[in-house]
Symmetry: C2
Subunit: 393 residues, 2 copies
């Protein structure tokens, strides 16, 4: 631990008296340091922006030393800037514009679990709708598994639906996953995820900006979303309805210039409207599997994904004019080279030379009737989807 006890206590106090993501408080601390801000606010110094009044509402009974001691007894540590495990990537929030009056790095992070927060430097957020479809939870789990298996911790919010599927997918793959809560790390929200959160606290980490004991509220979800985006190297949105909180996390990832990724789904599903809107506005890159996520969050040149290709048939590799001749060779009877040339619209000499090459490749055969198809795997009739897709880059 490198932060002084006074500074740590000042941060506990300010975090308890204020609300997470209060950008006024963050500005003061960045300018004057937590100890001075704390002392001045408690001395009743008027900051001129209302922080004084807000903090006064919670002064009665505040006791940061007691809070910190109690937390430590409960296995909860308070990580502050300067600590070895401080995730410095969140400091970028200081230079990021606010969103609905909220922003700035956390004053400190309450943590339950053995995993050091510095290990989140390479983490990936996987977030989405609470009312997810089974399609969404399946994909979230698969993506989280691939990402976690590659050594990138998966960060999410422990909510129903996509969040839960992301945590589970990472755990099932033997990877690490961290929950960031909108309440104290000693509380369980949603209550149904008691076992999941206990497991994460035992094996990985449960993190919150809020002091122990404090419950969820609307603005705490918004502040928490900013923290998920700021802790991670990139954010994947798996399903999000038009008003999903996941879009708020996405907005923070975009503000932080971190890769924002969106998984498409059926255009008929309300749960994919938000992800499609992220793609439509160009805010997010499309990802369809974990490997594509890795390609975007890994250092350039790592985890490159080959584009999906259909099966390539021998005939697809033929030069166009040989294909054209081959298309004119019948399957169920033999015909002369002149008839093939006429059908193909290719000169007789070229046709004969192409037929000889195709014969060497055992694709056509010369019979007593003339030329015919020999390769039994050759399609019987022209099939459009047997074409080689040639795309503009």
């Amino acid at each position: 631990m490198t932060a002084s006890d006074r500074e740590r206590l000042a941060r506990v106090a300010l975090g308890t008296l204020g609300e997470p993501g209060d950008s006024r408080l963050v500005s003061l601390v960045a300018e004057l340091g937590p100890v001075l801000v704390h002392d001045q606010l408690l001395a009743g110094y008027d900051t001129g922006d209302g922080v004084q009044d807000d903090i006064a509402a919670r002064l009665v009974g505040a006791d940061p030393a007691r809070d910190l001691e109690r937390a430590e007894r409960a296995g909860i540590r308070f990580v502050v800037p300067g600590d070895d495990e401080w995730p410095t990537q969140v400091d970028q929030l200081l230079r990021t514009e606010t969103l609905r009056d909220r922003g700035g790095p956390p004053l400190g992070l309450w943590v339950r679990g053995p995993m050091g927060l510095d290990e989140l430097e390479s983490s990936v957020a996987v977030v989405g709708s609470r009312s997810a479809t089974s399609y969404g939870t399946t994909i979230a789990g698969e993506i989280a598994a691939v990402v976690a298996r590659a050594g990138y911790p998966v960060v999410s919010g422990a909510a129903f639906g996509i969040d839960q599927a992301a945590h589970r997918g990472a755990l099932a793959a033997g990877g690490r996953t961290v929950a960031v809560l909108a309440c104290g790390v000693d509380l369980v929200y949603p209550p149904a995820h008691h076992q999941l959160l206990e497991h994460l606290a035992k094996t990985c980490a449960v993190v919150s900006e809020l002091p122990p004991g404090r419950s969820v509220s609307r603005i705490r979800f918004l502040s928490r979303n900013r923290l998920i985006a700021a802790l991670t190297r990139g954010t994947v949105v798996v399903e999000a309805a038009a008003r999903s909180g996941a879009l708020n996390t996405a907005g923070w990832a975009a503000r932080l210039y971190r890769p924002l990724m969106s998984v498409p789904g059926p255009v008929t599903a309300a749960q994919s409207e938000g992800t499609h809107e992220l793609l439509r506005t160009g805010a997010a890159s499309i990802v369809t599997r974990g490997e594509e996520v890795l390609e975007l969050v890994a250092p350039s040149g790592h985890h490159l994904v080959a584009p999906r290709r259909g099966r390539v048939y021998a005939r697809d590799r033929l030069p166009p004019r040989q294909q054209q001749v081959l298309d004119a060779v019948p399957r169920h009877r033999g015909v002369g080279a002149d008839a093939i040339a006429r059908t193909a619209g290719i000169g007789l000499l070229d046709t004969q030379s192409a037929l000889q090459r195709l014969e060497k490749m055992a694709i056509v055969a010369r019979t007593s009737d003339g030329w015919r198809i020999r390769d039994v795997n050759a399609p019987d009739s022209p099939a459009e989807n047997a074409e080689v897709p040639t795309m503009n880059p």
Copy 2:
């Protein structure tokens, strides 16, 4: 008709002797005109690029005047550049690079049906997999219906799956739709679509670059795809597996700098792999409904689509600090303003003033116990997806 009979006949002849999309033939015609090219080739003049030899393979029995007369008797017309209904947008193919040796505008277009080809100036191509899912055919039909209802003819290839659904969707909406074939317009491919093609020939148009009687082949599908892209103002790919012919059409749309649109689907479906790849490479814009297609193909500022928004609640329109106070007001009992101020972390005076405003809006009520929630529609517990999504542009 403005093209001379000699020129028209020369184009019939060259189209019969050559293959559609033969870029060598197109270059010669663009340079020397169809009559001179025709006369020189028939006189055995060596073009140095093999066109002469290829054409010679089909010279026996060629009779363009007879072909044209027979076609006209069968209700088929041959439209050439200079005709009033010539779709001049296909001439852009002359200035477009080739794809697998093929390219260039058609020498002429064989048409069956009352609709003038000039009406395709505002048309939209809707194409995709033959082995489509029911999801894909549903969406293709819906998109085609919206596009056709707005007066934009829908162009497709009359194939199974997406093509068929697109034609049907346009017809069901009372709109116009045109099939572009990879065989003569007197033939039916696929044979199962006999009724569909007859209906289109009676009410709209069936179009082909190939002379009547000529059957499908692989390269004719490729040439046909280029024609679909070139005839239309933009191309929508609804479902496409990794090797779908629809990706070939997409490649042509991109080469022509026409809007290329791609419909997302479940990442678990092979039929959406191609559409997602188009989105991933940035070749296509994402579209999720017909209105979004119209926005991209209509003149700028027409058919603008409002982004999808969830329901907005009264509380969402409150300033953040009033929301913060409201979040701290209990639902099932009344509490004093000081307790609310402490929970919200907002100064007592501000809290009181916020409570008074919320009271005026009938969102909270002052009871004998203190303040409590009044609006029965207010959610009981903080729900993340009740947030207003605020996104980076």
